[in-house]
Structures are given as structure tokens and as C-alpha cells.
């Protein structure tokens, strides 16, 4: 799991790469904790390079969503593979984190 970030005004776009599972959830959490600190307005997680997520990865996203909400910032996701999109549906995570088809759509939504 690696994560790269770009900042555009108050919005941070973070792109994790690889699998988000029980073996690297701690590492993923540490990386996102640092990103949350730098997020003023919104954090977009671009899942283009993510091939897998389990409940351990979802837990990290939930902790991150709670932290951002506490800071008055928002979280959005984009570019999910079909099996990952299905996991978000089954878990009900699609009702707490907005999911967009593309990075451009996600950026437009947080700026709107």
C-alpha cells in the first residue's frame, strides 16, 4: 500500500495504491491521519489504483470520515472498481461517503 497526495486549494486528493486489507490497515490509517491534518475543506480519495478492500480498510475510512467531520471538512471517493463498489453497497458505506465516477466529478462536487 502506497499513497500519494496532491493539494488544490483547501482540497486534498489522495491516491492509495494496492490492497487495503487487514495486513496494512494500520499503515493506511497512519497515512490518512497525516492527510486529514493537512485537509482544510475536503479530502478526495481516488481509488483508481485500489484493487481490494476488506472491512479492515472500511474501518480506516470510517475513522477518517469521522475525523474530517469533526474538523468541518468533507470526504468523497471516486473511481471505484465494480467489486469495491459492491462492497460499499453491501456495507452501507455508500450512504455515509459520497462516491463519484471520476476525479473530475468528485472535485466538482466538493467545490460546488
Amino acid at each position: 500500500m502506497e499513497i500519494s497526495t496532491e493539494t488544490d486549494g483547501g482540497t486534498v486528493v489522495a491516491t492509495p495504491t494496492g490492497r487495503l486489507d487487514g495486513s496494512n490497515a494500520r499503515e493506511f490509517q497512519d497515512a490518512l491521519d497525516a492527510v486529514v491534518q493537512d485537509t482544510e475543506r475536503a479530502l478526495i480519495l481516488d481509488f483508481e489504483q485500489v484493487s481490494y478492500i476488506s472491512s479492515a480498510g472500511l474501518r480506516v475510512l470510517l475513522v477518517t470520515a469521522k475525523a474530517l467531520q469533526g474538523n468541518g471538512a468533507e470526504l468523497a471517493l471516486c473511481s471505484l472498481d465494480d467489486p469495491i463498489r459492491e462492497v460499499f453497497g453491501i456495507s452501507g458505506f455508500d450512504s455515509i461517503i459520497p462516491i463519484h465516477a471520476s476525479r473530475a466529478d468528485a472535485l466538482a462536487s466538493v467545490k460546488g
Binding site: 486489507d21 495486513s23 479492515a56 472500511l58 462492497v87 456495507s91
Partner: protein, 139 residues
């Protein structure tokens, strides 16, 4: 000749890597589509980490995993000698609807198994948990 795989892992979380490698080998041998690889990985991770974290007091115990494929389906059998845990009766209903501030993640692993597998059977026999999962290859 149906493709099969069997593997014994310790009750240690770092064994997840060996489990995933075994899934990848079987998937390649039996030419699985990506969504099948995804859901087999997912149910194996969820169940085995649950067994490791809650079923046993330390990482020295063993979990036996067997998988077999026929033309239409993949069957997974997992046996461990830890605390009794019936996923069909002993798990809280997952929280799928609370707002972000109140949302909890507990129980999602078993929920995934029930949603993504076509068959989930559990029995406690000879002091061991026996879990059997079946998923059709094409859904």
C-alpha cells in the same frame, strides 16, 4: 481433474499473505474471473482474521483451509479448534444505516460472507468450528 488447494496456517495475522498467495495460485490454475478472486479473498480474510483475533488466545494454533472448484462453483472449508462461533447466530446485526458520527464497523465481515456467498454452513463438531462456504463462479 478439479482444481483443489489445502493449506494450514497459524492463528497469526501475518498468515494472511500465505492465504492470499494460495488463493492467487488456485485462481490462476482454474482461470477465475477477477470478481470471483475478490470475493473469495474477502470471505477468507474476514473469517480467518475473526478466528485469529477472537477465537484463540495466541498465535500458536492452527486453521485448516481447503478449497475445491468444479465447473460452476468454488467450495471453501475452514476448520479451527478455537472458541465456538456460529456466524449465522452469534453475530450482531451490522450497522448499515447510522450517520457517520454513530456508525460502527462490527459484524461487517460475517455480513459480507452472507451477502457474497451462495451457501454458508456452520457446525461445531469434535470441539472444532467447521465453516463451509460455496460461491457460484458466475453470479
Amino acid at each position: 481433474m478439479p482444481a483443489t488447494m489445502s493449506l494450514t496456517v497459524r492463528t497469526a495475522r501475518d498468515e494472511l499473505e500465505r492465504i492470499n498467495a494460495a488463493v492467487d495460485r488456485l485462481a490462476e490454475q482454474d482461470d477465475w474471473p477477477p470478481d470471483l478472486v475478490f470475493r473469495v479473498r474477502l470471505v477468507l480474510e474476514e473469517w480467518n482474521l475473526n478466528v485469529m483475533d477472537h477465537g484463540h488466545d495466541d498465535d500458536t494454533h492452527e486453521i485448516d483451509i481447503a478449497m475445491s472448484c468444479d465447473d460452476d462453483a468454488v467450495t471453501i472449508e475452514i476448520i479451527d479448534g478455537g472458541k465456538p462461533f456460529d456466524p449465522l447466530h452469534d453475530t450482531p446485526a451490522p450497522d448499515l444505516t447510522s450517520a457517520v458520527g454513530e456508525r460502527r464497523v462490527g459484524g461487517l465481515g460475517v455480513h459480507f460472507m452472507r451477502e457474497l456467498m451462495d451457501e454458508v454452513r456452520y457446525k461445531r463438531e469434535s470441539g472444532k468450528n467447521h465453516l463451509k462456504l460455496v460461491t457460484r463462479k458466475v453470479r
